[in-house]
Symmetry: C2
Subunit: 343 residues, 2 copies
Amino acid sequence: MSRTPGRVPALPPTLADVAEVAGVSRQTVSNAVNNPDLLRADTLQRVQEAIDSLGYSPNRAARNLRTRTSHLIGLRFAPAQEGTANALMDRFVHSLVETSSAAGYHVLLFPGDPQDPTTGYDDLLRSTAVDAFVATDTYLGNPQAAWLESRRAPFVAFGRPWDNPGAGHPWVDVDGAAGTQVATEHLLSRGHERIAWIGWRKDQVIGEDRRSGWTRTMRSHGLATTGLASRSDDTVASGREAAAVLLDEAGPTGFVCASDTLALGVMHTLADRGMVPGRDVAVVGFDDSQVAQVVPPGLTSVRQPLEEVAVEIVRALEGLLGHPPERAEGVLLAPELVVRGTS
Amino acid sequence: MSRTPGRVPALPPTLADVAEVAGVSRQTVSNAVNNPDLLRADTLQRVQEAIDSLGYSPNRAARNLRTRTSHLIGLRFAPAQEGTANALMDRFVHSLVETSSAAGYHVLLFPGDPQDPTTGYDDLLRSTAVDAFVATDTYLGNPQAAWLESRRAPFVAFGRPWDNPGAGHPWVDVDGAAGTQVATEHLLSRGHERIAWIGWRKDQVIGEDRRSGWTRTMRSHGLATTGLASRSDDTVASGREAAAVLLDEAGPTGFVCASDTLALGVMHTLADRGMVPGRDVAVVGFDDSQVAQVVPPGLTSVRQPLEEVAVEIVRALEGLLGHPPERAEGVLLAPELVVRGTS
DNA sequence: ATGAAAGCGCTAACAA
DNA sequence: TTGTTAGCGCTTTCAT
């Protein structure tokens, strides 16, 4: 007897149920699922029919317990900052879900205390709830990566280990400087020469990286950058103020910004002054957020190839979790410019 | 002997390891974790110390296998439509992650084929990978809810069962008509009388619901709606066209829109004509997306209380998964208007 | 208040 | 190629 029949709610069928129906041992059913090559064709078919007729799927918990894996990838899900244009996470998470699903993994979301970036990881790790993590926001001073390494936790970072170039973990990142370089060259090709930069405060490595793309492009074209750069918080209000000051003091005809949020700030200032973006002054943002796509007249922006990022991350993850584990190299991807009405 | 020491990588400590250190049986350790009241104070403390010193966390897979639960909530994660302003999902998912985590659940994301809304559910269900689902996009004709009910899958819907008011599953939704009513009343109080509506095509129940809030408010103020309404796809381009036609043919001084995306379309048309939103014509959107928050001069919009939605959903979920299960009533929450520069 | 025994459903290792 | 045995780490049941 396999299970009391007719009981409600019926328990899902098990390996043993399938084995009984197919007239084979449980191990043979297991092999049919995991190593079908081992079975004789006719046996496989018989087992397969039993599986289908019962609607059998292996119980995850049992499999996880036995194999010491969960096929779950942990991702700390911090909220998008309200009032910024930065909805990268949404696009990235979707790509990651798609890609990892194709590789047999699901994504487990857990909350993180914004104050303590390591919150949540420890418990999932110790309870072996996930096989690995994808760590985002691995900017300078963020202890996540170092902490995970110290715990020997398998993880791939979305973001370079800025403060530790020789870090032992795999990472995938987007080349911000290359992005702002393309953006700056785009404005140059449109005839602009006085191109201003609005970026973040100096302690933001990512911002400095993006800024360097602007700087080097201007220099390589023999153009001065003095007085054309501004640093501020990543808010619309800050971008707005910075743009006003730059327009008054340096009279730029184009702006390259470290984020769409800042670019929106520029557009606010232009609106304040009755200027039309794309006609009077060019504006380029960074991230190709939804805002860039819908704001009139369309914000030209540097788009991160998040789909590729997800693919590379999952590739690295598969290496890490393979037998034997293989540590992937860091991968740096190039963003591309999406040209719209503001330039 | 509990475990070969010094082996790399070390396996996480188990109940047995803790028991050995604390000098008690495994069962007592289990009780210390799950039913601390059963232990004598000094025993509990000894066990607790052993747990802390070893850094023990119960193995999830083992616990899941034994208890037939996973403490995982499945959420189908479809991507935000590119080119629309609609990034509700991001905010909602975050709220859900926070809230369900507080209740001891994690959120498992799985991809869904946009063509077949039931993809993914079946496998997770049969493999007992999740305890329950949160189903979104349960609009008319979406077979998710009916399918899940037929499978006796525990789930809570974010969205009313429009086509089946007596549906047996718990749901949480936001009162769209109340939202557009507040939006319309707001414009009325600002002195507008010719207030246009731009919504979705007629087969979108949610759109019809939102429209009804505008209709009834106009009527209750003795104002005509004829010629002031337009239906279109939920894209910026459609909203833009609809606004142009309405401005030409009906000369409204204010627009209430079924989405921020459509409202952005209106703003495009205003920009095309050199009109200033908020000064020449008022615009109100729906969803309070990031776009609404950052676009100049700030888009007045109806904000869905997603944090509350998440709280109610988790509450219903806990009922569903409790012993005995309790089926929660449907919950309808009121949105609020966020007033910005466009009105 | 604590312990012993059994078993959740699966797969690794080995035997036939 | 298929079957048998053992055990992953935990909790439920029952005994002490």
